[in-house]
Amino acid sequence: MTSQQPQEPQHTQPTRIRDLPLTLLEKRFSTASLALDYGAAIVRVRSRLGVFVRDFQQVYGAFAVADAPPFADFHTEVCGGQGLRSFLRPQSRFLIDGIQPFDPFPKAQALPHFEWGVNWCFAQRFNQHVLLHAGALALGDRAVIMAAPPGAGKSTLTAAMMLRGFRMLSDEFGVLCPRTGKLWPMLKPVALKNRAVDVIRDFADNAILGPLYKGTRKGDVAHLAPLAASVDARQRPARPCLLLFPSFRDGATLNIRRLPGEEAFARVAFNSFNYALLGQISFAAVAEVVAACPAFALEYSRLDEAIEAIRTMIAESTSDAVAA
């Protein structure tokens, strides 16, 4: 009888996309043997566009290199233009299941094209969840949902919160599971626009920003890479504990105002991507969130001040829940 020495558990770090030589990454893209696990969804990507692969590596650097799984929710491709035009004005095309849903973009903007393409696929097809149009971040497993109209500074605040230690679940989609009431990560790079790019660049040394794409359809855009702590927790859902409706105003002093439940419901539900489609399911899920979470409008001009206020609100909502 032989005895085996117990082995030390191995705590190996995953190989991250930033660790791969670019040539190897290009090879994996060209054979579509690379899948992106966003948390809520898995996307398989094929591309032979060098500029896309290079930019992708910068903003998806913390994601683990995973072999293409047997199942992916979306099969996508980013490829070059067709015909004579591809020589005169190089383009990128985004394909989902071989279908091109949008007009081509300039080739240099292949990465933002891909990002918007994946958002579109998700918003159109991922109807097993209630898709709130909101950022979502967590401290531990308690999440704050932040909903705001475009231009209100939601992405900037989301980015800054991640850089100050919050776990980012998503910048764009609050992926609410109607069965469990929890939020799933849909972790993608944060698309920062115009002035927000420099704000975040100056905000934290650990901000990893991809290239600046000038003059896109949404202005000048750069993507903030999700940090490894958020990436590594992308299979961990969180329970909503706070609803926030942030708005940035130059020079504003911090102003926090409690919102009545019915107003919070209207703001969350009617800005959802698929509330109308899911009917009673989304009504019940959103009502449950609003019943469980205090809701506030938050006007701010200084990021760190807003972030500290949000930390306090989460802590208070936690103690309220314990007391209840």
Partner: protein, 83 residues
């Protein structure tokens, strides 16, 4: 009114109509009126005259005010009022 799903949120409420998938947002005042009408109707719509009487006598409000007219229109849309 079993086709109406009512959920109180703080002092206000929200209602989902399973017949047409419309969602209605109720202010605190509208939520109180909804509950009074629902109780009076015991699951059925109530006559408009009965609704006006309830507003005046039980809730002590003026049914002719613009706010009450708005609430009544909403409740009519939900099928809470007959006729």
């Amino acid at each position: 009114m079993t086709r109406l799903l009512y959920r109180q949120l703080g002092d206000g409420a929200v209602v989902f109509d399973t017949a047409n998938w419309h969602t209605h947002i109720l202010t605190p005042a509208a939520a109180v009126i909804f509950e009074v009408f629902a109780e009076a109707g015991n699951g059925d719509a109530i006559a408009e005259s009965r609704a006006l009487e309830l507003l005046r006598e039980e809730l002590d409000v003026d049914p002719g005010s613009p706010e009450m007219q708005q609430v009544l229109r909403s409740l009519q849309e939900m099928g809470m009022l007959a006729g």
